[in-house]
Symmetry: C3
């Protein structure tokens, strides 16, 4: 019979994967919110439910780390990764919420490009989480997230320039800027998750 010297609880990986999968769902709901024909109040309600589900996964991670004696990697890194994933959801939820609240009718087309970036980031992150267990080949994930963040940053700057071009009334600029910045923050939050994963891999590798 084989002997496992360092028994680790694999289900942390399941919880991180679950958390990232909530983000895939959230990014999809956000994409629906941008469609002009969508029922904005209904879509926002589904986002709220998705955000609550993500919160529960985050709480499960925190509870598990507090009640587990041997964790697969540093406790503080587990907290950081859990709350990093949760931050992405909060930012996407904020974007949806502001679109509803500000009653913005026409959203600049650039916003769809940002949401596509977010959808791609969510898929990559969800695919990377199970690979944390073996620490195999996460380089492609970091490189691609960083490339997407650069794309997002260029989109963001182009959108801001458009907002301030004189095309929009100032009160609309004020509204749209908040929405645009929440999308940018969501992309940044994905990059932060990738940085935490990189740090874990360096320590454990």
């Amino acid at each position: 019979m084989g002997l496992r010297l360092r028994p680790v609880d694999t289900s942390f990986y399941d919880l991180f994967t679950q958390s990232a999968q909530h983000l895939v769902g959230g990014a999809e709901i956000l994409a629906e919110m941008l469609s002009e024909s969508s029922d904005k109040a209904g879509v926002a309600e589904r986002m709220r439910a998705a955000e609550h589900a993500a919160d529960e996964t985050t709480h499960a991670i925190v509870k598990k780390v507090n009640s587990t004696f041997v964790t697969p990697f540093d406790r503080e890194d587990i907290y950081a990764l859990g709350s990093g994933l949760d931050d992405v959801m909060d930012m996407m939820d904020e974007a949806v919420d502001l679109i509803l609240l500000y009653e913005v009718e026409t959203l600049p087309g650039e916003l769809s490009e940002q949401v596509e970036v977010l959808q791609r980031c969510a898929e990559l992150t969800a695919a990377a989480m199970p690979r944390l267990q073996s620490m195999q080949s996460l380089d492609d994930y970091w490189i691609e997230i960083n490339r997407l963040e650069n794309t997002g940053d260029r989109n963001h700057r182009r959108t801001l320039a458009k907002l301030f071009s004189g095309e929009y009334p100032t009160i609309e600029v004020l509204k749209l800027k908040d929405i645009v910045e929440s999308l940018e923050s969501a992309i940044d939050a994905f990059e932060k998750v990738a940085n935490i994963v990189e740090q874990i891999a360096v320590k454990e590798g």
Copy 2:
């Protein structure tokens, strides 16, 4: 003669209680600031003094944690709780400061509701701090803070909708939005304190 196996320094609890009591005072000053008849410059000066007093308590906590060998709970949690309480004061101070600086004459009535939420949060937090020592029955505190944060969030969204309803000139929206957001941040900061307390209770319980 009895023997205490793990001598702990109780005065950390006194310092946390002191810190939370500064918040009770700060929330009161903030309420005065909203009254139309108040001497805004004078009230703002008292807020500044209250904020300095709170800073000193925070420094005393940091100094104590750095010079104490056996702390009643994890060093990092003591830092987190100390700076979490300090963050609330900073947010309330910012709100007072912006009201003075922007020379806003008429504040929407919704702001008073937010300040009432803040006053209630401050009282609950000040009552919870001494109970950290025995870790008895803090559930009611968390539940009530979370309920208040939800109320605050609904007020906040209603206020933003009002600001963007077309009732206010854009320049006033810009000013009021900053003030409204500092109140929201103060409430969020109280919730963060409650989360830190919960985490400490889970670890130590």
Copy 3:
């Protein structure tokens, strides 16, 4: 032959000094950006290069802390100081970027005063980093940074009051407020670095 009981890697100090020297360069580029006759696109490109160079130093610090067995002070403090210095650069880079992006032609004179504060903070920080090794006489550094932060805060408030005085069109207020706030955040980030240094000195002293 003498015996060194606790071999420490001195080059952490070199890396922190290098990181702070990037800030001296960044503050200089920021000052150029404010000059009306400057080639804004060219200056912004140099800022981008400076920010990338600073990023590389930050990565070198993180890599070193992860691969070093005995660090000169707590790992978490090394991370905090490294990322604290990096945050200053990000804020200065953001200010330059916004000036270019928003195509602001005339900047209020108050901005030059804030950039002078930043330049002085950068020089003081760069001079303090090598002194971390001996922990000698860092009091003058903290006191002076705190004095500068107070000066910066007064400038900031005066600038905001001017922006909202009715002198500027609302759309310009919106643009200038973002720029003014990034300068304020850069000064705050220098104060945060000084606080981290103080904390390290207290622990190690």
